[in-house]
Each structure stands twice: as structure tokens, then as C-alpha cells.
Amino acid sequence: FVVGCTSNEPEEEENAPAAETGGDGGGNSNDEPGETVVIGFSGPEADHGWLAAVNDSAIAEAENYDDIELRTAEGTNDASLQISQIETFINEGVDAIVLLPTDGAQLTEVATRAMEAGIPVVNVDREFSTPFAARTTILGDNYGMGVSAGTYACQLIEEHGIADPVIAEIAGIDSLPLTQDRSQGFEDALAACDQTVDNRVAAEFTVESGEEQAANLLQAAPQIDIIWNHDDDQGVGVKQAFDNAGRDEFFFIGGAGSSNAMQWIQDGEMEATILYPPTQAADGIRLARLLAQNKGMSDLVQVEVPRRIVLNAPVVNADNVEDYLHLGFES
Amino acid sequence: MHGIVKVFPGVRALDGVDLDVRAGEVHCLLGQNGAGKSTLIKVLAGAHQPDEGEIRWQGEQIRLTTPMAAMKNGIATIYQELDLVDGLTVAENIYLGHEMASAGFARRGETQKAAAALLSRLGHPEISPRREVGALSAAGKQIVSMARALSHDVKLIIMDEPSAVLDQEEVARLFKVIRDLTAEGVAVVYISHRLEEIRQIGDRVTVLKDGRTVATGLAARDTPTRELTRRMTGRDIEYVFPPRQSRDGDGSVVLAVRDLSAGKEFSGVDFEVRAGEIVGLAGLVGSGRSEILETIYGARKASSGSVSVDGRTLRNGSVRAAVGAGVGLCPEERKSQGLLLDEAIYRNVSLATIGRFARGGFLNRGDEKRAATEHIKSLDVRPADVERAVRTLSGGNQQKVVLARWLLRECRVLLLDEPTRGVDVGARSEIYALVRRLADEGVAVVLVSSEVPEVLGLADRVLVLRDGVVVHTGPADDIDEHRVLDLVMEGSAA
């Protein structure tokens, strides 16, 4: 269940079922057209499938509502440019802003300014450094993702009785805080079963870098028991590197939950993937509309939109993949 | 060629030029710096398109739209600015654009053999066809340019100041090649500022002035010098050297070069220059004269020996030290060593003295331009517009800009390497007068020139070099041209 809260207490956090959104929203009174609102949406450069899916689902969501006029300023990994995009939204006087920042901390200043200008900001995925910068925050749980992966790895070790396991990690872009969070979560969860990461490489969320790094990783470690790859986009390349090298002695765990990954799980080529749904921005658009129209969330007893929503990071494996297929995004 | 007009932004470089060249003759082009000689031959070579006028070739009107078109017609050109590719070998440069190849694959052995044959024909079998052109001296490059022109099957060869970087010996060899060519019926267009050469090799002369033909078909051997110079400049020029002041040994020693050696280039060079004295270095191309100047200036490192100015020894290999002590070097190759081609004239002139026009680092451009203008006028640079980019000047005028820089500098010691290369007759005598005047003001001057008369006429004392060794030292009055030539050739006759 979901608990919303109107106070300024940031520690309020709960897990919402990630599958809740779908854009169908039938029979919900909130879906009835209200006054037309202008929503500004800005996200990082959609340079790989997951982020493209984030953008696409946000735009698709906006198109479901006749009363949303969406201004998109997607497409940058440069915080400075994204700041100027938000400044543009403020200049234009949009009714609400949905912001997936390249880096939460770096966009905090400008988001605060937007809030001060009376524009509600919905913060998606990467969190601002103060609670005053956003009216509502929707987070994927990066640390939780690492924890899920690590816990799952521990479980595998125990189930299969692997002695002295070699554990490898293929991270995403290493300089991003979200990668750090995922790795930290992984490390902490592994520590719970007395394990550490033996080999770690960092790719760049692209197929090519995934292949490259995985190929090198396989050379570095002649025998591996478990590999966690942070991102299913680069996973396509990682998988290809495994095939190229003819190696499959390990359990291959992915991240994000692309359609490809789900397919591999069904085909038995992948052990599991940790879900990180790209629908957050779509949720953000919905909430922004409600905020701009002064509506609440009708699914809640609570009258207003909650301050903070943290999505779950569940493990998808052969047992439950059927349930999650519809969430898989094209990478 | 008839009524050729070529306009550059701001300049009418050619303003109705006529020129006719007959088979088997050597047709000389004369004219002051900037008269339009190079421009004219670039039109003939297909490198420039004329704005007006027509070109008839063997009776038919033709249009030379590209250099290739000219070459196809049998017109080959040796340009004034050595236009070679440093990164290619000698053989490759010679056959660039018309390579010996089968299906695009270069036939290297054949190319090298043919190149070697051409170089021998020019009297330079020692230049290896496999050597990179970038490593050759200016004279070597000139030889390669000539070989390149000869590599075409030609009916007309155009030579734009080929002798500027050559010594007498080389020039004699060049003339022999020219005579062979004309004997085969090839026509030659020859440009030079050295009137003696015109007399030796030329058949007919065309004189250009300010982009117009002012005289054509003059007999090269019989027209008096005075008339030629008058037609070129519009006034009478006394082509003489300024008088020396006889004040032997009264000035103090300013520059002392002690037992200076640098690798294989030269060794044991030992001389001194007194205030007010001009010392000339004579020698063949490649005898190491430029290297000596560059070593004195600190631009090369000496392997042994020392250089001192006013009694203080300069740090080896430091240009800054030399400049600090008041030494100036007017380098040999104006284009690569001297000029910022895209910059205005005044900026080039003030380059070595820029600090003088500044206060606390901020420039006073008025002063700067005024000083530059003064020197530009005194050297008769045309056009005398200090804002003009140096690239748009003719070769001789570019040389004057380099010279102006060092005149402006007011040095204690002035090292001049081929200062009059490509400079016309009129400006030459002015340069001589200027150098002499500087000396009279107490500057110690070292002069390198491939023209022996120039060395003998201008210098007080002469050093003759052969293979990097000084073979003769003595007052300029005590030695004549033949003796110098004997010395540089034999070396032992001393």
C-alpha cells in the first residue's frame, strides 16, 4: 500500500507497486479533463534504450490527456545546459515541471528557483539535495537495486553451494552517482554473506562498451561464478561477448528489465534481472498534471499528491517473468 | 600574350602586358620589385586566370585554366617561391603530378633513375633522389625545382629568379643547361634582378613597370645598363657601392668569434668585427655560411668555441642571450624563417622590437605604424601601405620587409644573410647605403651573400669559406672576384 504525506518530512518513504502505471487509467475521476495545463519536461540525453523509454513513455503519457500541453527539452548530459532549459521553462511560466536531472545535486539550485517562482517541480529518478527543490519526488531505487542483486547472488551461492565464488560486476557509467549507489548496494548486500566483488569493470550503458568491457573482463577472470551487469542496454553487448568467448559457466544477472533481458530469462540464457522501470517520468507527468490542476490522488485516502514515492526494485527471474513482461522496454 | 590584365583586391598587378616569346630564345623579363613579373608568368603557367587579354600559343588562342593545362601544352615553370613538398623525396617531388606509374602504383625504381639522370644533367649527381626535400638547403631545393621543370616534355620553360639562391658556380652550370635547351629549340623566359646574367644568357628583353610593358624586344647584350634601369625605374641609378671610410682598426672589437665549430657544418671559425666594420663571408652554397651566422645568433648550438659581444661571452645556443646583447639576424629564408605572411606589414616590421612600442605591455600602435612606415618608405616597399598583408607583396618587397625589421632594431651586431636576395637594382643601392650608414653609426655588420661583387663591394674585410673552413681572411680591397672564385673552388691557392 501507499502512504502519502503532506508534511515536509523527507523520511517518509514507501514502496509502491511498480506495475501501477499503464496509462489506461479507466474509470478514474482524475482522468476527466480539467483546465489545460502546460508541463515542461526535461531529461538527460536519451542516448540509450532505458532513457529513451523514459522519454517516450512520458511523451506517450502526456498524449493520453487532452488537457496537457507538453514542452519537452530532453536531451542533454550537460547540467549547465539543463539548468538553462529549466530557466527557459520558468521564463515561459509553465504550470509544472517534470525533471529527470542529469545529476540531482546540480539541478537543485534551479529547481528551487522554479519552486520559488510558484511552479511545482516533480523530481524523477535522481534526487535533489534539498527537499525544498521539489513538490514531489519519484525515485527508482538504485541502492535497492544493488541490494536486490547482491541478495540474489548470496541466495544463488547458498542454493548451489558454491565454495569460494568468483563474483564480477559490470557497472554503468562510473562517474554517475547512480552507478555508485548501485555498486554500494551490491557490495553491502554481498557483505551480508561474506562475499566481495572480485572483478569489476565499468561500461558506458552502450552495447559497444558492454561488449568491450565484458570481453576484457572474461580475460581477466578465467573462471567466474556470478556476474551482475547493471544495465540491460549494455547487456546486449555483454551477452554477445559471452557468446563470442563461448563462456556460460556463471549466473548472469542483469539490471533495468528490458524486453531482451526478459526474453533471455524465458529462454534460460539469463538467470535474472533487477527491475528498474522506465515509467517513472510517465508517473511524473501524471502527478504534475494533478498538481497543476490542484487535484489529489484518488487512489489514496490522502487528499493531496504525496511528497515522495520510491519504486520497488524487484528481482525478475524465470519464476515470475511472466508477470513483468509488459513492463519490459525495447532497448 | 597580349593585353593581359590581372586585378587583385586593391591592386592592378597587370595592366595590359604584352609579351612574345620565340622558340629557341632566352627571353628576359626585367622590372622592379612588384612590377608584375611573377604574376605574369603565373598567368602563363595557368596558376592565375587573367581578367582580360589573350594568350596565343603556336599561333592558336588558348585558355590555360589550370597548371595542368599549361603543362600539357609544354609550358613548365620554376616558381619564385620554392614550391616543393617537404615530406616527399627528391624523386617524388620531381615527378609530382605526372608520376611514373602503372595502374596507380608508383614505379619507384624507374622514377629514381630518371630523377638521378636529371640531377646529373644539372650537375648535381650528389643529391640523392631518395632524400627528403625538407632536409635540403635552399640551393638544393632550387636544383630540384629545376629538375622538375626539365622532367616535363617542354617547349617553354619559365624561370622566376632561379639564380637568387645560387652562387656563381651554380649559375654557370644553370646557363649551360639553358643553352642546351635553347639549342633544342626550347624557349626560356628568364627573370632575374642581376643584369650581368641577362647579358650573359639573354637574347631579348622585355621590361615591365607598374604592370605595363614599357619596352619589349630589346637586345639583351647591347642595350646599355643605364637605359635598362631607366626604363625599369624611370630614373637613373648609379649601381655603385657607398664609399668606405678609411679608419682602420679605430673601432673597438664588438663581436668576437673564437674557434667556433658546429658538428660537420663548420669548424675553427675565428674572427672579430669592430664597431663600424662590415665583414663579408664569401663561399659556395653549402659552405656553411648560414650556419655560422645562425650559431653566432644562438639559433644553433655550437659544439665548441665561443661568441662574445663587447667582451661578454654569450650563452651557447640561446637566441635570447644574443638578442639581449644586441645581436640581430636577418635570416636567409624569408618565408619560413622571417615572415608572418598573413599579418600586416607593420606588424612584421616591429616583430623584433615590439617591446619598444609598449608601455607596461600595452601597445601604442600609432608609434609602431609610424616607425614602420618610415622604414618601408626608405626601402621603397611597394605598395607602401603598412596595413597590407605581407602575403600579397611581391618576393622582393617581402625581402625588404624582413630587412626593415632589423634596421628598426638598432642592433650592436647585425648579421645579414643574403639581404638582397630578389631585390631590384634600385632598392639594392639603397640597401647598400643603409647598411653602410649603420656601420658608420658604429654597428658591427656581418654580411653573407652569394654574389661575390656584393661582398667585395660592400664589406671592409672578407672571409672566404670552403667546406666550413675559413681559407682566406683579408681586406676587401686586396682581393678580386677571380681570386675569390679560385679560393672557394681550390681552397689551396691561398
Binding site: 550537460d78 538553462s84 527557459t88 545529476d103 539535495s129 | 600595452f362
Partner: protein, 318 residues
């Protein structure tokens, strides 16, 4: 070759055309003062770097490490230690640290190029890798939040109604212009880049001057780092991503030759404005990023070709 004025005229026309397109497609949203200030504020950081880059490129070099230096300087200026010191004394400490880091990196670049004889591309590529790596190590890849409010309030604030960032850009631009056009330093830069041999033979200390050029750029990066730090309220190893490309592009589109010896500060500034205005017009028109990229490519080509035509005309009439 055309005169600098002719070239810049072409650029101005290209910029005006771009503005006209902006006004036509986005109307008041584009021409509002607020929007103009947004564009200028966004130009400021990369503008300061580009002005420094102009000197290095005119001097015959290139610097790929500017973005990395900005990152390192911003991280160093926002470490806990620096911030604590700044809290105790004055926020100018942070400015000083950033500039010192920039100058230090520039010095290393310059020495490697001038005295180590390394190709500028390679030497600064090494710095590009090393400085960002170091920034990551120092920051432990975390974004460091600025707690010294003074810095953010002043640098990210306003002065006489105009954002301080824009003031800094304007001042750096003016200093750059004077330095290049009115001082011996500028003149020597042109000589070193135009013909290093000639400059050396004319008695200019070419190596020392080359080092100075990289130091000047390093300083510009330090200033840019502080501006970015104030603008984002953070120091981060990800700051300044792709700045090398943006800065070089602005300099080159501004008419400076990559081979050195020729260039203008005004051209560079207009070059920066062209790129930032372009982005702004795209944002206002709601273009998706792929279409933006294609349009950007096409517009660059058109702008440059247009600029050339105008430049030729402009110089014909003089």
C-alpha cells in the same frame, strides 16, 4: 584572405538570421529579456573557456583538457577542507583554489608541449584523462554540494539587474580582447602561432610564451569552474563534459584558424552565442534531441557558407 571585420560581419549576420528564426518560431518567448538573459547566462561558462582557448589556438596549439580541468578545479574548490576554510575566512578562498588548480594544470600542459616537445593534442589528451580521473578520486565520484552560501549568492546572483555570470563573461571577454589586440603578449601570440621559427629568430622566447598561453587557458578554466560551481551549487567530476569540443567549435566557427596565427576574440564570442542561441531556439520549439542534432548539423553548414559569402562581400567593399 578577408579582413577580420569582414569575417565577423558574416558571423553577425548568421547570428541575426538565427535570432530571426527564433523570433519567428517562438515569438515573444524568444525575444523576451528573460530569455535573452538565459541564453547569455548559459553562454557565460563555456564562453570564458572559449576565450582562453582562442589564445592557445592562435598560438598554434590546442587543448583537449579544458573540460577535465573545469571538473578538477570545481571538485577541488568544493572539498570539505576547502569549504571549511572558506567558511572560516571568505568564499574568495574557493575562487582562489579553483584558479590555482586551473593554472597548475595549464602549467603542466604548457611545459609538456613547450619543453617536453609533445604534440599539444597528445599532451592535453593525457591531461584530459588524468585530470578527470583525479577529480573522480578526490570527489569519490560524489557530487559535492556547496555549503558556502556567499559564493553561490554572489556569483549566481545579480548586479545592477544583470546576472553576475554575464558580468564575468563580459569582463573576461574585454580583457581577452585587449590582451590580444593591444598588448605585446597578444602580438607575440600571433607571431608564435603564425611562424614559430620567425618568432624565435626575432628574439621571442617561444617556449616560455607557449607555456604562458596554456596557463592563461588554465586560468580561464579555473574561472569557469567557479562559475559552474556557483551556477549548479555543486562541484563534480562530471562538470565540463564535452567542453573541449564546444570550445574548439566556437573558436573555429568564430574564424580562428586551427593552424594558428590568426583569430579574433569577438569571433569566438559570437561563435559561442551562435551555438547557445541554437540550443535555446530548439528548446523553445520543443524539438526532440535527434531532430535537434540533424538540424544542428544542417544549420552549422548553412551558417558557415552564409558567413563566407557575407565575408567576401564585406571585404570587397573595403
Amino acid at each position: 584572405m578577408t579582413s577580420p571585420f569582414g569575417r565577423n560581419l558574416g558571423l553577425i549576420v548568421a547570428l541575426l538570421v538565427l535570432c530571426a528564426v527564433g523570433a519567428a518560431t517562438a515569438g515573444d518567448r524568444f525575444v523576451s529579456t528573460d530569455n535573452m538573459l538565459t541564453v547569455l547566462r548559459f553562454s557565460a561558462v563555456i564562453g570564458v573557456v572559449s576565450i582562453g582557448m582562442t589564445f592557445v589556438i592562435i598560438g598554434g596549439g590546442i587543448d583537449l583538457s579544458v573540460g577535465a580541468i573545469v571538473a578538477l578545479a570545481s571538485v577541488w574548490a568544493t572539498t570539505l577542507a576547502t569549504q571549511t576554510m572558506a567558511e572560516d575566512t571568505h568564499w574568495l578562498i574557493m575562487v582562489f583554489v579553483a584558479c590555482a588548480v586551473g593554472v597548475g594544470c595549464g602549467l603542466v600542459n604548457g611545459v609538456l608541449v613547450a619543453y617536453g616537445g609533445m604534440a599539444p593534442f597528445i599532451a592535453t589528451l593525457a591531461m584530459f584523462a588524468a585530470a578527470r580521473g583525479l577529480a573522480e578520486i578526490i570527489s569519490e565520484k560524489r557530487t559535492q554540494i556547496v555549503d558556502v552560501r556567499g559564493l553561490v549568492d554572489v556569483i549566481n546572483g545579480e548586479f545592477i539587474g544583470i546576472p553576475v555570470l554575464i558580468w564575468i563573461f563580459a569582463i573576461v571577454g574585454a580583457i581577452g580582447w585587449v590582451l590580444l589586440n593591444r598588448t605585446t603578449f597578444g602580438r607575440r601570440t600571433i607571431a608564435v602561432g603564425g611562424n614559430a621559427t620567425a618568432a624565435r629568430l626575432a628574439g621571442i622566447a617561444v617556449k616560455r610564451h607557449t607555456v604562458l598561453l596554456y596557463v592563461v587557458l588554465g586560468l580561464a578554466c579555473g574561472i569557469a569552474a567557479i562559475m559552474l560551481t556557483a551556477r549548479t551549487g555543486t562541484g563534480s567530476a562530471t562538470h565540463g563534459g564535452l567542453y573541449e569540443l564546444d570550445a574548439i567549435a566556437a573558436v573555429v566557427i568564430g574564424g580562428t584558424l586551427l593552424t594558428g596565427g590568426r583569430g579574433t576574440i569577438v569571433g569566438t564570442i559570437i561563435g559561442v552565442l551562435i551555438f547557445t542561441t541554437l540550443t535555446n531556439v530548439f528548446t523553445l520549439n520543443n524539438l526532440d534531441s535527434s531532430t535537434q542534432a540533424v538540424a544542428k548539423g544542417a544549420i552549422i553548414v548553412v551558417a558557415v557558407l552564409l558567413q563566407q559569402r557575407v565575408a567576401v562581400r564585406g571585404s570587397d567593399s573595403t
